[in-house]
Every structure is written in C-alpha cells, then in structure tokens.
C-alpha cells in the first residue's frame, strides 16, 4: 500500500508558514464586499424596531421616489417568489414545531431586526437613505425574553403554533439505573447554570452578491458563507431554481465561527431580486445588523445533577436543559443542544445518564451554531458540577477528575449512550497541564495567601474536556434526524508538469486549509507544498461537498484528500510497473520517484508518470488517461479530541475584578499536520471561551431590545484584556483514519470557559461563594461575594 511508502522528508508535522497569508497581508485578498460587479444594485433591509408586532400596513411610496432608488419591496410583495419557506435542516423530533419563516416578515415581526422591506438603489448610501422614508404601521405585541416565561406560554411568539415549545428531546441510557444511582448516592450535587447568549461578531460582516447571466437563467451567488454547497442546495429549493443553474462562490471569508453556517434571508433576497430585475444585486451588513440579524449562540438554562459514591466516583448524571431557539428555527438551530447531549457525562466513566432538552421560542434573534455549538455548553455544565462535587466530597478538583476519568486502557470506549470514543488519554493531558501550571506550588501559594487574609484571592480552575467532532458518520446524523450527511469529497489531480491540484468540498474561512492540504499532498507525492494548488469554496469547481463547520475539515475533508492520494499513487504505480516492466509490489515510492526494490538504477519519477498519463501513449491496457482521483469519504465515527485547561486568576474582593494570571492548555487532537496552525486555532478558541466567562453577553431589555448591538457595547476582548497563553499538546492518534487526526477548531472554546469560572469560584470558595454567573463582570463577582457574606459566609 502507498501509505507505507517512506516520504522523502517529513512535511506533515512541520510548522510550514501559511500559503494563504501573502494575499491577506497585502490587501490583495478579495472579500465579498471587495468584488467589483459592474451595474450592481445595492440592497438595504428595513428592520423591525419592535421585538414583537403585527404589521398593519407599509407605505413605500415616498422611498420609491427617492434619488437613486430603483425598487422597494415588502414581504407581501415578494411572497410569490418563494417556493418554500426558509430552510431548517434539523427537525429533531417528528412533532417539532417550526413556524413558517420567509426572508421578509409578512404579517408579524418576531424579533427586533426581523426584516420587513428592502430597497434597491444605485448606491449603498441611497439605499439606506430610502429606508428612513418607509412608513410601517406596527401594532406592538408583548415580547418574550425570558426562557421560563416563554415556557409558560403566557405570550405566544407564534400564535399559529399554540405553544412556545418547539420540541422535547430525551436521551436515557437506562432510566431505572439513573433513579437507582441517585437513591443510593452518598454524595449528590444539583447545579443550575445559565449560558448567556453570545453574539458571534465575525470581523467581516455578512455580505453577498447575486449576479445573473443575461440569458438562460444561470446565476452566481457570492457570499461570505461557510457553506457554499449547502447554500446552493437550499437556495435552489427555497426559490424553486434548477440547482445546476446556480453557482455559489465564497470568496475570502473573514471569520464565521458557525455564524456563517446558515441560509440567510439576505442571500435569498439578493438571488430572488437579481432574477426578478435581471441585474446584479449586492448587500453588505452593518455591524448593528450583524448583532441583530446574524444568528446568536448559546442561550440555555442548564440543570445538572451528579450522583456519586463515598469516594467521589460519579454513578449517574441527570441533565435538564431549557434551550432558547429565538424567534425562528434557522438552518440547524434545533440540533445545537443535541450536539452537546452526548457530552454532559464528560470524560468520565459514568454508568448511567439521562438528558432532556426542552426548546422554546422567544422574541429574540434566532440562535444557531456558534463556536463549539452545544459542546462548550455541555462541558461547562459537567466541569462546573465536577468542581461542586469535589467541594462536596472534600477532594482536590484534579484528584476527583483522576478518580473518574475513562482510563487510557479502555479505548475504544463504548459510552452508555452507544457512541464509541475513538482514543484518549485524559490522565496524560491533566498531568501535563498540572506540570506546566505548577499546580502544587499554586495550591501552596493559595493556602499561604488565605492564611495571611488579604483581599486579593488566588484561584485555580481546572477543566478536562473532550468533544464529539468531525461531524460525521451520515448514518449517525440520520439517527439524530439531521437532514444532511457527514461525508466530504476530494479530488487530487497531478497535472502534466507535476504540479498538483486538489479540489475539496470543504470551505475554509481562515483556518489555513490550503496550507494543511498542500502539506498532506507534498508529503505523499514528494513535491513542494508550493506546487500544490488547493481549489475550494466554489460549487463550480467542486460540485458536491459539505463545507466547513464542526471541526470536520481535516478529519473528514483532509482524510478524503489522503484517500484520493492513495488512489492516485496506486494508478501511478501501475503505470510505473508497466513502463519499468516489473511487478507493482516491487516498486517503492520515495521522494516522488518509484524505484524497483533491489535495482536502484531502475526508477521512474512521478513527474514522468504524470506526463505519460497525460499523453496516454503508453499506458497499461484499458487504463484511463490522466492521474486524477476522486473520493467521497463518509467516516466510520466521530473523532474525540480532548485536553485539560488550567486557568489561574486573581480576584479582588473589594472590586470584583478578575485578572487572569496564567493560562495553560494541553490539548490532544491526535496527529498534527501543522502544529503552528493547531496552536493558532487553540489560541483563538481559548480567548473566545475566556470571553464568554468574563466579558461577552448579548443583553436584551424586557421589551426585547438588544442593548449590545455595537462593538462599543458588546465586549469583544482586545489584546489588552487577555493574557498570553501557555499551550502544549499530547498526541493520541485517532485509530479511525490513516492520518490519525481528530480536529481542533473548537477545542479551545470548549475547554476554556469552565476553567476560567472554576478559577473565579475557587478563588472565592473560602468566602462561601459557590457560583458566579457568566459573564463574571466585576459587579457580578462582587455581588456573589456580598451574597455569600450575607448568607452566613462569616469571613
């Protein structure tokens, strides 16, 4: 097999600088709003100022006559353009409630920011000017902002549904065993945590442009999207367009973090209006629109209970989750809590587990996938609860974790949920993280400080996590009612001059895939990474694919490339054997050249084979010309990266200020193609998780108005707000793919939030503080201290 051939020099595992960088560093890269599209009209969307209101009428006449304005449309005007409502691809239960949702509201608006009308004008400024002249007669309705209020059905978000509950989804491994475990437990903890809503705030706002061909109906949609392929299918379905006439291109995309994993109203509007008017239509989001009308993340109330024996061994985990869907179900909104459902028992050997999720509508911006999507939430709950249990049992948090870990000798491990964890060494990551953090000394220092009785308290927070990533086996996704598969496609093509083209169905947006894919090819074929061109993010180049989200690009997309390389090398070997007149088994590939074992002078370079395959003058009988292979890979399992993060904070008792002194992360994503890129992904993720813990929150008032709709109000951390990071890794390859890779895009975010809050609570535990809500602002921390004091914390 080709995989056993020795490469000339290791490329995989080196810190190769990114191929993507020069264009991005020089301003040459083209983001969607940078595209020059002659004759394009600019679209602007009028958004509801009310969270909930009936539309009694809309007068667009003044706006329509304004300078530069070409057309103004309301939701009712465009109703006939939609063949189907906007898509939700994850109907998690048969009876899930899913309100009809069109790109513009027709009768009722259900969140502040819901679109009610669009203007097309010659310039962006003219389009936005005209918005002010549209007169909408609203009849305000009561807002529903609080999840428990929503659950009560006091006010219905969608009258036609008769309830605010979208679905109830349950996962029980053995209901009786759970009850028994709680009845027999020596220790139990019952915790309640709130996952505040987060605003993704990718640096590049959303943008799109639809460009119709003058004749024949073909149309190209450019969009700042993570999912060109899914967007193409869904746009075709929603507009009743022949799919093959639609091409979707994602130019450079300035961050997505899940928020560009969606089918948005504005994309559909641009396509529909470009077709209707026969001219290009483009749109770019303002930051305030981004905060209101791009999906938001998290939004859950979690109740988690642990049962444990006298030694602190967890015997059961019971979870009840209340999840905020927002006003509508976007593409994968209902599935997000399910992605976490399998992780609430954490990295621990828990025999009995029960999970119930109730999801409700509110009159707020829809939620959907955001940075870890369901998995950070789950990890937060179990890792906070483990600390609560450690306190109850009287054990050091790391000791409690060590007692409960699924040990390294038990992989592959079949969880009570039926899922199989591919590989792991959770103790190894914890031990390494403790070493790097100087855990023992930190505890001694903490004790010293407490004995001295100062007001600046040291806290050490630990979080051991894993994640179900590389979203993946199509059959398992089917069992969760997800409407799409989890496969990925790849083509590898060695050109006549020995340059290589790789076509992937994945759609990178900053992760460095071009470099990583080129490295896989370079290692296997003995070419320079500079000689590998990675083509992506264009449905005309890669007609089928499933795009980039859920840390699937390397573990599904990259593995598909590796498998395509197998096929290409196999074909090249057959040609070499034919031309060298030897058996295929006698050939070994080294540094891009096939050599006959034992006859070092008999050799044929891949470059020559590529040219021979192109000319097709002398190929084995019946062989197709050209060195090219295509693979569509549906992985047999998810992959399960893991790690331990340790956060050290200092909390000022008098002000509630939290300073992060040290942050250590040890992550294990299996083999690493490019450790530099792995670290970069981890860094960004950690800071996002830390930001959830300390800074970020979408704040709504009781009427459903977003109070944090700009970057001046929403606390995106700056360089001065966050610490330098200490990162390291252990390497436990995945046994399910030949590359031994797992996935790293979300790991940092998943591991960090509980580590930070555990540290804050740990700093204050001797004052009687047991929890601090997120984000742990100085006021919240200070209030938690005061509450503990008044509750009898006597210090």
């Amino acid at each position: 097999m080709a995989v056993t051939d020795a490469p000339a020099a290791r490329v995989i595992g080196t810190r190769l600088l990114r191929k993507e960088d020069p264009a991005l560093l020089t301003g040459e890269a083209r983001f969607t709003d940078d595209l020059q599209i002659p004759g394009a009209l600019r679209m602007a969307v009028l958004r509801s100022p009310f969270a909930h209101a009936r539309i009694r009428g809309i007068d667009t006449s003044v706006a329509a006559g304004m300078p530069g304005v070409v057309a103004v449309f309301t939701g009712a005007d465009l109703r006939d353009l939609w063949a189907a409502p906007m898509p939700c691809a994850w109907p998690v239960t048969e009876d899930m409630k899913n309100p009809e949702h069109y790109p513009l509201a027709i009768d009722t608006v259900c969140y502040a920011g819901d679109g009610v009308a669009v203007v097309l004008a010659r310039t962006d400024v003219e389009a936005r000017d005209a918005l002010d002249a549209i007169d909408v007669d609203y009849e305000p309705l009561p807002a529903v902002v609080d999840l428990e209020d929503a659950l009560s059905d006091r006010v219905l978000v969608h009258d036609a549904l008769g309830t605010n509950t979208s679905y109830v989804w349950e996962l029980h491994t053995d209901a009786e065993a759970v009850e028994r475990a709680f009845a027999e437990a020596v220790h139990t903890v019952q915790e309640r945590y709130v996952q505040q809503r987060l605003i993704p705030m990718a640096m590049e706002p959303r943008a799109c442009a639809a460009v119709p061909q003058p004749f024949g109906g073909d149309l190209t949609l450019y969009s700042a999207t993570q999912i060109p392929h899914i967007l193409k299918v869904m746009t075709a379905v929603t507009l009743g367009l022949p799919e093959h006439q639609l091409r979707v291109v994602a130019p450079a995309v300035g961050g997505g973090f899940g928020s560009k994993l969606d089918v948005y109203a504005e994309e559909l509007l641009c396509v529909a209006l470009a077709r209707k008017l026969g001219v290009p239509v483009r749109w770019v989001e303002e930051r305030t629109e981004n905060a209101q009308a791009t999906i938001q993340g998290r939004g859950q109330i979690q109740e988690i209970e642990l049962a444990a024996d006298a030694d602190g061994r967890v015997t059961a985990v019971r979870v009840r989750l209340l999840a905020d869907m927002g006003a509508y179900l976007q593409l994968v909104t209902p599935g997000i809590p399910l992605l976490g459902a399998f992780l609430y028992s954490g990295v621990y050997d828990v025999p009995a587990y029960s999970f119930t999720c109730t999801s409700v509508f509110t009159t707020l911006t829809p939620t959907d996938a955001y940075r870890g999507a369901g998995r950070p939430e789950a990890t937060y709950a179990i890792e906070r609860a483990m600390d609560a249990l450690a306190a109850r049992v009287g054990l050091d948090p790391t000791e409690l974790r060590m007692r409960n870990f699924i040990t390294a000798d038990r992989f592959p491990y079949t969880a009570p949920t039926g899922l199989v964890y591919d590989s792991g060494n959770y103790e190894g990551a914890l031990v390494r993280a403790k070493e790097l953090a100087g855990y023992g000394e930190l505890r001694a220092e903490q004790a010293r400080r407490r004995a001295q009785g100062g007001t600046r308290h040291l806290g050490i927070g630990v979080s051991s996590y894993f994640e179900m990533c590389g979203l993946a086996p199509s059959r398992v996704l089917a069992s969760l009612n997800y409407s799409a598969g989890g496969w990925e496609s790849a083509t590898v093509r060695i050109l006549p001059t020995n340059k290589v083209q790789v076509v992937t169905g994945a759609s990178p947006h900053g992760q460095g895939h071009e470099t990583s894919w080129a490295m896989i090819v370079a290692e296997r074929l003995g070419v320079s990474p500079d000689d590998v061109d990675v083509l992506h993010s264009d449905t005309a180049l890669s007609p089928l694919g499933l795009d980039t989200y859920g840390s699937r690009s390397l573990v599904v997309g990259g593995v598909a490339i590796d498998m395509a390389l197998d096929k290409v090398v196999e074909k090249a070997r057959a040609i070499a054997a034919h031309q060298l007149e030897c058996a295929e088994d006698d050939l070994e590939l080294d540094a891009g050249t096939f050599r006959v074992k034992g006859s070092p002078d008999k050799e044929l370079a891949l470059a020559a084979i590529a040219f021979a395959a192109f000319t097709a003058h002398d190929l084995p009988d019946g062989m197709e010309p050209n060195l090219e292979a295509h693979v569509t890979y549906d992985p047999p399992n998810f992959s399960w990266p893991f790690g331990t993060h340790i956060c050290v904070v200092e909390v000022d008792e008098e002000t509630g200020q939290v300073d992060v002194l040290r942050y250590v992360a040890v992550d294990d994503c299996g083999n690493q193609v490019n450790p530099m890129i792995v670290e970069g992904q981890v860094h960004g993720g950690i800071i996002q998780g830390l930001a959830q813990a300390l800074f970020e929150e979408a704040v709504y008032d009781e009427d459903g108005n977003l109070r944090t709709s700009t970057m001046a109000e929403y606390l995106v951390p700056a360089a001065s707000d966050v610490p330098a990071l200490v990162t390291d890794s252990t390497v436990t390859p995945s046994p399910t793919n030949a590359l031994g890779v797992k996935g790293i895009g979300e790991a940092g975010t998943i591991g960090s939030t509980p580590a930070v809050i555990n540290a804050v609570v740990d700093a204050l535990s001797h004052l009687g503080v047991t929890d601090v809500p997120m984000p742990a602002s100085p006021l919240r921390v200070w209030s938690a201290i005061q509450a503990a004091r008044h509750a009898g914390g006597s210090q």
Binding site: L25, F31, M203, Q511, G680, A718, S720, L725
Partner: protein, 171 residues
C-alpha cells in the same frame, strides 16, 4: 447634492475627486479610489479594521471624512509590500502566524507599523495596550503580539526603504 473637491495622495499617487461631504475616508478609499484592502468591520470606530496612515499617523479611516483628508498623504496596506517582498511587519505576521481569516489584518498591520514608529522600545504589555483599538476574533492575540514584537525589531534593523509614513506635516 453638494459635492466638494478633495485632493488626496494615496500610496504616492495624487487623486482628485468631487465627493459628498458625508463620505467617510474608508469609503473614499474603497469605493472611489478602488483600494479594497482597507476593511470596514464596525460602525462605531471600535474594531480598527479600517486603520490607515494619514500623514504618517494611524487613523481609523471610518472616523474621518474624506473631505477632512483633503491635502493629506494617505498610506494603505497596499503600499507596504514592495517589489514582491513583504514589509518587515507583514513578514513578521506571516512568520508568527499572526493572522487567520485576515479581515482585521490590514488594519492590525497598519496600527502595528505606526506603533513601532511612535515607540523607541516596545514590550509585550505596550504592544497589547497599543493595539487595544484593533479587534481580532480568530487569533486570541497571542501570535499577533509576538508578530508585532518581532516586526518591531525587523523594522529597526532595516528602517528604509520600507515605507513609511510620509513625514508629518508641520505647523
């Protein structure tokens, strides 16, 4: 609609246009001059993606009207790399993996160049504080800080012919 004449030297080339008084410098650069390397990330001058140099000083080009830039010399990201070689600060971002999606990068690099120009010495804390007006969602800043410190050394080692910031106007 009132239009005013502005003359701006952008990356060494003089441009003369009639513009609306409300036109922001960033939109002038992107839509009128056609240099789209400078990005718009927010509406509140919070993110710094639109940072350029105006008469050598870093400015968020969404905080300035095009008419206010009349008579100035503006340097954008497109002017840093010369003759196929990256500016030392760009090179440092490349070598230290100081970018991922790259949307904040032009503004971040311009701010970094200016920070180095304005400070004889820089340490980690000074870089973090100096860049607090430029937001990034991908990198967690760890590698950006490393890149700026390395870029500072490289710029001092080879101060010219890398551009720079045209001398400040006096008086």
């Amino acid at each position: 609609m009132v239009r005013l004449r502005v003359t701006v030297t952008v990356n060494g080339t003089a441009h003369e246009h009639d513009v609306e008084p409300r036109l922001l410098l960033v939109h002038y650069l992107r839509d009128v001059v056609g240099l789209t390397g400078t990005n718009v990330g927010c509406d509140t001058s919070s993110c710094g993606a639109c940072t350029v140099l105006v008469d050598g000083e870093s400015v968020k080009s969404c905080t300035m009207l095009a008419v206010q830039a009349d008579g100035t010399v503006v340097t954008t990201i497109e002017d840093l790399a010369r003759d196929g070689a990256l500016h030392p600060m760009q090179q440092a971002f490349h070598e230290h993996h100081g970018l991922q999606c790259g949307f904040c990068t032009p503004g971040m690099v311009m701010a970094a160049v200016s920070l180095v120009d304005e400070n004889e010495t820089l340490d980690e804390q000074a870089v973090r504080e100096g860049l607090e007006g430029n937001l990034c969602r991908c990198t967690g800043y760890h590698n950006i800080v490393k890149a700026v410190l390395a870029g500072a050394v490289a710029m001092k080692r080879r101060p010219r012919p890398w551009p720079s910031p045209t001398p400040r106007r006096r008086g």
